[in-house]
């Protein structure tokens, strides 16, 4: 079938280049010659935060910047101070009233008289990490009163999208499936089955109904990729098998495993209990969007190569199967070794 032929023609290059996850964060360099001060706030509980405040020392003198929290913030532990060769570090735990730090202002008194900056990094329980640079022209930081539902939805959606696009193991499985399906209708069924399956396990794992240990799970996910290699060779050789006749069933079965893998990505965000259903929905939508973008990209590329009338020699048509199989085998062995090492 021509679609399958076109898939075979392009896959060895696609493997290396079709996934454009294209988000890399590059931190900006500090322009001043003086090192910035640094404030780190890690949320420990709803109203409790660990605060690390570092001020640089220049020529033996500490920069005269004073960290000032609003009156509603009180120390739970007294500041513990450490003198480092280049800076002074204070660590303490603070507690706030009911709303936490939301809507409050933290000031850096004396910053305006310097030419240095303050790097502020806030890590909240819901997984949000915000990094801000405070300049002498505006020596304070205002914490947003509340995160809008739209902003929260965006965080979970983008996280799901990135999770699948940066998860080459999940993508490689979907990629392998594309070689096995032999019609558009079967492609729709197979991708839908994968989606339904991983949605089920993503939900039950995130809601805490089922827990699967990570190490065996990772090995099984790798095994699912390895499983597809020989099946692609069978398709190429004109043979048939249960997987080739009913790829959607195999896709559903292995999709259950991959869903547990997605759940690890979602729970790593540190979900507040009240947000779980909403976060689950948005994360899953992000995963689906990423998956569809990947499949769409491949189908578009196939169409593009068809327009250009590129044909690979038959000897190269099996390369994709070997790439899928070899990577699957490598990860399987690697993850089993990690698992055995973890048990030892």
């Amino acid at each position: 079938m021509s679609a399958r032929l076109m898939l075979s023609m392009s896959i060895w290059r696609l493997l290396l280049g079709a996934v454009v996850a294209a988000v890399t964060f590059v931190s900006s360099a500090v322009a001043h010659e003086i090192r910035p001060a640094y404030l780190q706030i890690d949320q420990m509980a709803a109203n409790r935060y660990k605060v690390v405040w570092r001020t640089p020392i220049l020529s033996g003198m500490r920069l005269p910047i004073v960290l000032r929290f609003p009156d509603s913030v009180r120390n739970v532990t007294e500041p513990a101070q450490r003198d480092l060769p280049d800076s002074l570090v204070q660590t303490r735990v603070v507690e706030t009233d009911g709303a936490g730090l939301a809507g409050k202002r933290v000031e850096f008194v004396g910053l305006q008289a310097t030419i240095t900056d303050v790097l502020v990094r806030v890590h909240l329980l819901d997984g949000t990490v915000e990094t801000t640079m405070i300049h002498p022209s505006q020596p304070w930081i205002d914490f947003a009163a509340t995160r809008s539902p739209l902003a929260a939805a965006r965080v979970y959606f983008v996280s799901g999208f990135q999770h699948i696009l940066l998860g080459i193991d999940h993508l490689l499985f979907v990629f392998g499936l594309l070689f096995i399906v032999r019609s558009r209708w079967m492609l729709v069924k197979t991708i839908t089955a994968f989606t339904v399956a991983h949605s089920i396990t993503l939900a039950v794992a995130t809601l805490g109904k089922v827990a699967v240990p990570a190490l065996p799970l990772n090995a099984m996910i790798a095994l699912s990729i390895l499983f597809l290699g020989p099946e692609i060779v069978r398709v190429w050789g004109g043979q048939t098998s249960f997987t080739i006749r009913h790829p959607w069933i195999v896709s559903f079965a292995f999709g259950l495993l991959h869903g547990f893998g997605f759940a690890s990505g979602l729970t790593a965000l540190g979900l507040p209990q009240g947000d779980i259903p909403f976060a689950l929905l948005m994360f899953n939508l992000g995963v689906e969007a990423g998956q569809l973008a990947f499949v769409g990209l491949i189908l578009l590329l196939i169409a593009a190569l068809k327009s250009i009338e590129i044909r690979l020699p038959r000897s190269l048509e099996l390369l994709p199967a070997y790439v899928v199989g070899i990577l699957g085998a490598y990860w399987t062995i690697d993850r089993i070794a990690v698992m055995i090492g973890g048990m030892a």
């Binding site: 280049g17 454009v20 327009s307």
Partner: protein, 181 residues
């Protein structure tokens, strides 16, 4: 989310490939000439498109490897503006050329940009997978652009493509002017 997302890549060992993809995706000075070449090849027909799609990534990888070994060349911005200027002008003018000419242009572009890309990784151990990742994206980009132009059936779409070529050439002229300043 970067921490969580990178866990996959740490597990799979494919992180540097993504680095190469991201590096290329954020390099407009490398993307624009490829777009111009794709437009030119697409306007000329499927044989030209095929030549550029097959030759450009090969040239990119081959000279990227050389760049990794030799390191960066001391080129001024006048020379760096030439791919934009030449390929943009060719696309804008829709000049007739034999297919081997288009293939040679693809090889030259792959050599120039691939060397530049590879040399950025001359001191890195992750250069090879990054180069492979970028070459994959180069392949996808040139295939998409040239196929889209080939599919353009109406005169106005061909004119629009040539306009894009003229803008690319204009960017090259700006860069050239900057370099000659």
């Amino acid at each position: 989310m970067p921490v969580e997302a990178s866990a996959h890549l740490v597990n799979t060992g494919l992180g540097p490939i993504y680095d190469g993809v991201a590096h290329f995706a954020m390099s407009p000075e490398a993307i624009l000439p490829i777009v111009a070449l794709g437009i030119f090849a697409g306007l000329r027909g499927p044989i030209h498109a095929r030549a550029s799609v097959l030759i450009l990534p090969v040239g990119w990888v081959a000279f990227g490897l050389v760049g990794m070994l030799v390191g960066p060349l001391a080129l001024n911005s006048v020379i760096e503006s030439l791919p934009l200027l030449i390929l943009g002008a060719l696309a804008a003018a829709d000049i007739r050329m034999p297919s081997w000419g288009t293939g040679s242009l693809a090889l030259l572009l792959g050599a120039f940009e691939g060397w530049s890309f590879g040399s950025a990784y001359s001191a890195s151990r992750d250069g090879l997978p990054a180069l492979a990742g970028s070459a994959g994206l180069v392949f996808v980009l040139i295939a998409f652009v040239s196929a889209a132009v080939l599919k353009a059936r109406w005169d106005w779409t061909r004119i629009a493509m040539r306009v894009v070529g003229s803008w690319t050439a204009a960017s090259g002229m700006l860069l050239l002017g900057w370099g000659l300043r």
